[in-house]
């Protein structure tokens, strides 16, 4: 249907979820989905690079020697749980319940912080063992792939912190709902990418 800029603010359609209620909101959500498609391409290239270079250890540590099972399993659990709590927050948003939404939102942020913290300590441990980015092509590709995901998560945390302030200030409106929904799309997407990292990098690396 045609889109009128006149409809910027006022919700025009109550038959759809709140985040889609303004034309502007539905445009932005579609735009973000397309951005995520582009981000899929970005990660695909990093995965391809990692897969090509993963055995080029140049006498340095291999994936099997390096990775620590309890560590990466805990990271995975933290991120998966955060994706679930993020879903709960959006669920509460759709029921128009601000307090529980904010609660789950905060839990999501905390779990994300836990994940990033663990990843930083994992990286620090590797670097301390001399397994840094300059050691081999395998480690270069590893740090860049996993680090890019970690950077995405970090940005997501700051983003959600900003939205937390806005939610507290304005409550659940068509605009804040759209913003929270888009952030949640991003968060679930990062979860999906992590599942691939878990499988392609950590599990495969540990097994082979």
């Amino acid at each position: 249907m045609a889109y009128q800029l006149d409809a910027h603010h006022a919700p025009v359609d109550s038959s759809v979820p709140l985040e889609y209620a303004t034309e502007d909101g539905s445009l932005k959500i579609l735009g973000f989905w397309i951005f995520l498609a582009a981000d899929v391409v970005l990660f695909s290239c990093l995965f391809a690079t990692y897969i090509v270079l993963q055995h080029n250890t140049y006498g340095g540590p291999t994936a099997q020697q390096l990775f620590d099972v309890p560590g990466f399993v805990t990271e995975t659990l933290l991120l998966l749980t955060s994706s679930f709590t993020c879903g709960l927050a959006i669920f509460e948003m759709h029921r128009n319940r601000l307090q529980p939404m904010i609660g789950w939102w905060i839990v999501t942020i905390l779990l994300g912080m836990g994940f990033v913290g663990m990843e930083i300590s994992e990286f620090a441990k590797y670097v301390g063992e001399g397994a840094n980015i300059t050691r081999s092509a395998f480690l270069s590709a590893f740090f860049i792939l996993v680090g890019t995901h970690g950077t995405h998560v970090t940005i997501g945390i700051f983003w959600m912190l900003g939205l937390l302030v806005q939610l507290l200030r304005y409550g659940i409106t068509a605009i804040t709902a759209r913003k929270a929904f888009v952030a949640s799309l991003y968060w679930h997407f990062l979860d999906a990418v992590w599942i691939f990292i878990f499988t392609v990098v950590y599990l495969t690396g540990k097994v082979s």
Partner: protein, 651 residues
């Protein structure tokens, strides 16, 4: 810690000093003029902070024109050096920089912004929209492109230009063989501009999917809008690959990683693959919109519907799909094996089929038409034979074993100049002459336009036709000089003459613009060429809100239909009263944020991580400020609309 190349921060050399002086004088001149005429406020309010797609389009076109002249100067320098054997006009190092910046600027800072500029100008008008989907993001797209281009150009005077070719193959472009900051400029400049391009792709796609005028089905859209839609999809899937390739090489150069290095298990081939997985779709990103322009111009000046509309759409979809399956043809000679070479050879040949369909459909659009030879039409017509030469030699290059003989030779250079100039540049000029009255309200002069056209097109062929032969004689690209006695000298001299002829042709365009600003024929009707699509139904230039009433559409060629077609009566509904129009606010933030990016990336170029980090922090602050901004738009009142429409004689 001062990096070791702090010492040669400022590039030395006579021509650089001349450039320095010229840059300083030009900058002072601009500052002086703006101050004298008290235009600073005007510049800021009307242009630097605008989110209006038409103004952003014009800024893209201005920047692209400037880059065309810069890249053209590079071309002239190369041709001067190669005019005679064993010439000493440029040394090897200097020549290497010049061909690198020539290629990079022409593809990424000339062809792309010209087309994105024309898309910005025309596409929203063609679909009857009041702006693009994300006007604020559109401003960010422009300013990141602009500052990316500025960063790249800054290398000329501060630090030294990149010199590993626009393809920047590792390991030549890696830290071992190319330690200076030049290559970093390439990486950061392109990455910054790439952010803007990706955002443009998303923006245009959402605009076309969601914001078409009521009644306009996908298969009713003007062909230029279709080409934009498909180009946007290509951008969205191709540009992240470039981002990754550039970033990986950046890591190799700045942080000592070994993705593309010769040692520690790195793989230089990986760069070649990533670069061309982006690079081949990229050539279609710069040709498909030109195809779209051609469809509009030929149909308009033949006074006819486009021949084979659905085949035109289908062939573009096919080309876009195939463009992701042919990248290896850029390196048949890298040992991929006969099976791979056969596959990519045949897939490349297949692209000729949908392209051929388009060429025949353009030709048959003129069948039983009334052809008006305006300058826009001349450019569009010249496109056909020129691009066909480029396309046919492209098929010859797709023959893998024959390519072993053409690869990297001047045969290849001739081929891609026939496609990129004969295709993209001719298309852009057709579009410029065609949409000029829509952008500025006056036409470019036709007589000067013909001088511009004929000088350029004859010189173009004088320059590039002999290159096919030179390639078969064994001359390879990127040679800064060659010995006498190989039979290359005469042809090289002819090419150089042609190159200067093209420069003269471009001077006619410059003269034409200046002359037409003063004396050009004003377009008071809004319909300068007896046009077919909706952009011609509003005034020239279009008002801020594009259309006082959003048009309702009943089929293809809506404006033609409105004027002469079978739905004429349906279009003549009683004028409704105006209603206030909701428009986005201007903002200085896209400009400032991109400036912060520029400063940050400039810091990274020199490994000044403090500058880089602070700049990035500023970028994030600007993003946060945007997130917290809730007063983002305003209404244009009915009185103001009435006033504007009355002034245009439309009330």
């Amino acid at each position: 810690m001062l990096p070791h190349y702090f010492n040669h921060l400022f590039v030395t050399g006579t021509d650089i000093y001349i450039a320095d002086v010229l840059i300083i004088l030009t900058s002072l001149g601009i500052v002086g003029v703006l101050t004298y005429f008290k235009k600073w406020k005007w510049l800021w309010r009307e242009w630097l902070t605008t989110v209006d797609h038409k103004k952003i389009g014009i800024m893209y076109i201005i920047a692209a024109t400037a880059m065309f002249f810069r890249g053209g100067m590079d071309g002239l320098m190369m041709r001067t050096q190669l005019a005679v054997p064993n010439n000493h006009f440029l040394g090897a190092e200097h020549y290497d920089q010049v061909f690198t910046t020539h290629g990079t600027i022409m593809i990424l800072f000339m062809a792309m912004p010209y087309l994105i500029g024309l898309i910005n100008v025309a596409m929203p008008l063609q679909i009857g929209a009041r702006d693009v989907a994300f006007p604020y993001l559109n401003a960010i797209s422009f300013w990141t492109f602009f500052f990316g281009a500025m960063l790249f150009n800054l290398s000329f005077v501060i630090g030294g230009s990149p010199d590993a070719g626009w393809t920047s193959y590792a390991p030549l472009a890696g830290p071992t063989f190319d330690p200076g900051p030049g290559e970093n400029y390439y990486l950061f400049g392109l990455n910054l501009a790439g952010i803007g391009t990706l955002a443009s792709g998303i923006n245009f796609l959402v605009t076309i999917i969601k914001m078409r005028a009521p009644g306009m089905k996908l298969m009713d859209m003007p062909m230029f809008t279709w080409s934009t839609l498909i180009t946007s999809i290509l951008i969205i899937f191709a540009f992240p690959v470039l981002t990754v390739a550039l970033s990986l090489l950046t890591f190799d150069r700045l942080f000592g990683s070994h993705i593309f290095s010769m040692t520690h298990g790195g793989m230089p081939m990986m760069w070649v693959n990533l670069f061309w997985i982006w690079g081949h779709p990229e050539v279609y990103i710069v040709i498909l919109p030109a195809f779209g322009i051609l469809s509009e111009v030929i149909s308009t000046f033949s006074g006819k519907k486009l021949f084979g509309y659905s085949a035109m759409v289908g062939s573009m979809v096919a080309i876009a799909f195939l463009s992701f399956t042919v990248w290896v043809h850029h390196f048949f000679t890298m040992g991929a094996g006969p099976a791979v070479n056969s596959f990519f050879g045949v897939s490349t040949m297949l692209i000729a089929i949908p392209t051929g369909v388009k060429v025949f459909n353009w030709i048959f659009t003129m069948y039983r038409g009334k052809i008006r030879f305006t300058t826009a039409m001349l450019w569009a017509l010249a496109f056909i034979p020129t691009f066909v030469v480029g396309g046919m030699t492209g098929v010859m290059l797709a023959v893998a074993p024959a390519d072993y003989q053409y690869h990297n030779s001047y045969f290849l250079i001739a081929h891609f100049h026939y496609t990129l100039i004969g295709g993209t540049v001719f298309g852009v000029f057709a579009g410029l002459y065609y949409w000029w009255p829509k952008m500025f309200g006056f036409k470019l002069n036709e007589r000067l336009g013909r001088w511009n056209f004929w000088t350029f097109i004859i010189s173009f062929n004088v320059t590039f036709l002999p290159m096919f032969l030179l390639g078969l004689m064994g001359m390879t690209r990127r040679m800064y000089t060659y010995p006498p006695g190989l039979g290359w000298s005469h042809l090289n001299m002819i090419e150089t003459v042609g190159a200067f002829g093209q420069a003269i042709g471009m001077m006619f365009l410059a003269v034409n613009i200046v002359w037409s600003i003063k004396y050009g024929e004003r377009d008071v009707t809004g319909d300068a060429w007896d046009g077919r699509a909706l952009e011609w139904s509003t005034t020239s230039p279009a008002p801020e809100y594009n259309f006082a009433h959003v048009p309702v559409v009943y089929g293809r060629d809506a404006f033609w239909d409105m004027k002469y077609g079978k739905n004429r009566e349906k279009y003549q509904v009683k004028a409704k009263p105006y209603r206030p129009i909701h428009m986005p606010n201007n903002s200085g933030r896209p400009f400032l944020m991109s400036l912060a990016f520029f400063i940050s990336f400039w810091g990274f170029v020199f490994k000044w991580y403090l500058v880089g980090g602070l700049g990035l922090a500023a970028v994030f602050v600007f993003m946060y400020l945007r997130s917290f901004e809730y007063d983002t738009d305003h209404y244009i009142s009915v009185e103001e609309i009435e006033h504007t429409e009355a002034a245009a004689g439309r009330l």
